[in-house]
């Protein structure tokens, strides 16, 4: 059987989740490898969530937030940007390919973009292969 990546996505309630909704109502197709978790703000995504997702079997972690300047809570997405950058460097030192973690800005109207980036990300992870991290049984 070919490798089907498992992706955990944290989507902000105000932009990326609405963008995913938009992709759905517009009947856009994107791979079903993604498990979406709605959070109130991408700033709610503690780096611990990212590590835990990997430990529990995710092959990639996707974070979707509002465009810079558009955060519903003013500065949440800036913090996410810094945390993700720090996480990527930590993952790299741990020997994990930092491309397994992806941050994208998706607004509520960008259903097209949402479908495109998810598709791209799934393809990228498919090429990287299964994650070596899994500690417990896969989700």
């Amino acid at each position: 059987m070919s490798f089907e990546p498992k992706i955990v996505a944290f989507l902000c309630n105000w932009c990326a989740y609405a963008g995913a909704d938009m992709a759905g109502t517009s009947r856009l197709k994107y791979p079903g490898n993604m498990i979406a978790i709605r959070v109130m703000c991408s700033g709610r995504v503690d780096p611990e969530f990212i590590l835990e997702a990997f430990e529990k079997g995710a092959d990639g972690v996707f974070i979707g937030g509002c465009h810079p300047g558009d955060c519903h809570y003013v500065s949440g997405n800036y913090r996410t940007r810094r945390r993700v950058e720090m996480m990527k460097r930590l993952l790299e030192e741990m020997g994990i390919n930092p491309r397994r973690l992806r941050l994208e800005w998706v607004s509520a109207t960008e259903g097209q973009k949402f479908a495109r980036v998810v598709k791209e990300f799934v393809e990228e992870i498919r090429q990287l292969g299964p994650s070596p991290i899994k500690k417990e049984e896969a989700i």
Binding site: P47, E48, R81, R82, R83, E85, R89, L90, M94, I96
Partner: protein, 313 residues
């Protein structure tokens, strides 16, 4: 009746054994309530003596040091069998400590660095001390990765610190001799740091300094731009390092109820970077050269229990 206690030195620097002596005359109070039945570092007991004991005969066994060799693993399992309460003593046994950073490299890389490529230790015959036997004595096998005590056997209590500071140790010993396995403070180091009052309400950093790059003005290290693990580290030491002018590196481990000390601190550090554009932000973060060494100095063995991952495609 007096309790029977044991102490074993696994893979560690020996500071833990010294720290037990470092409580000075209070050790005499401990010895009034307890007999030492096994402590290879300080008394003349052999492994055979331990093997001859009944299962569960030792009331409290302290294990200091991590598990790096087959011998460490064997004794950890033996001590578990022979004792009612097994205590991880110090940072090595609890979290892997500084020597746990070796999990960033595999066995061969470590051997090459230590025995073959090290300029100051000539090794013309290229000897790597593994699998050797002489007169019935064998050198123990070096395990593929360093493990904490809890990753090998069930542990009932842990005394944090590298080595455990005297006040922490005294409290722990008293609690254990009374039969309690929960002790220690539940707050972060900042709470008892002598620089506490100089911590501003809001910390904003525009660049990070390493400790030697900036003159310490005596105020909160984080506010000065130096990474101090205080906010994510358990209190108890009384701020020994911060009062001596050195930022905390986190040897006391996480505050209870926090699972992952390093990532908690990483998240906090990312949040206090001043508002700036993306490129500048990246440069600031790149000034932290060693992420694992900074945030996981004492807990790499917990982050990478089987060593560094290989996912370099």
């Amino acid at each position: 009746m007096k309790k029977k206690i044991a102490m074993y030195w696994g893979a560690g620097c020996g500071g833990c054994d010294v720290s037990l002596l470092g409580i000075h005359e209070k050790l005499l109070d401990v010895l009034e309530k307890a007999d030492i039945v096994f402590w290879p570092c300080a008394t003349d007991f052999k492994y055979e003596d331990l093997e001859k004991m009944e299962d569960g005969e030792i009331d409290i066994a302290f294990y200091n040091g991590a598990i790096r060799t087959e011998e460490n693993e064997k004794i950890a399992k033996l001590l578990r069998k022979k004792s009612k309460i097994l205590v991880a003593y110090g940072s090595c046994a609890t979290e892997g400590c500084v020597i746990g950073l070796a999990n960033l490299y595999d066995r061969d890389e470590i051997f090459n660095a230590v025995y073959l490529d090290n300029e100051t230790t000539p090794n013309e015959k290229k000897i790597i001390p593994q699998g050797m036997e002489k007169e019935g004595i064998e050198l123990p096998e070096f395990l593929p990765s360093l493990k904490t005590l809890e990753q090998v056997v069930k542990v009932d209590a842990a005394i944090p610190g590298c080595p455990p500071p005297s006040p922490v140790l005294e409290e722990a010993l008293n609690a254990l001799l009374e039969g309690r396995t929960e002790f220690g403070k539940e707050v972060a180091l900042c709470d008892e740091c002598p620089r506490k009052d100089t911590k501003p309400d809001k910390i904003e950093i525009e660049r990070f300094y390493r400790w030697h790059e900036k003159e310490d003005d005596g105020s909160c290290f984080l506010a000065q731009g130096m990474i101090c693990m205080g906010p994510a580290t358990r209190a108890g030491c009384g701020g020994e390092c911060t009062s001596a002018g050195i930022p905390c590196t986190g040897c006391m481990g996480p505050v209870p109820k926090v699972e992952n000390q390093g990532i908690a601190m990483l998240s906090a550090i990312a949040s206090i970077i001043e508002d700036m554009d993306e490129e500048k932000e990246r440069a600031v973060m790149e000034s932290i050269k060693d992420m694992v060494g900074t945030f996981y100095k004492f807990s790499t063995a917990k982050l990478l229990p089987y060593g560094r991952f290989k996912d370099e495609s």
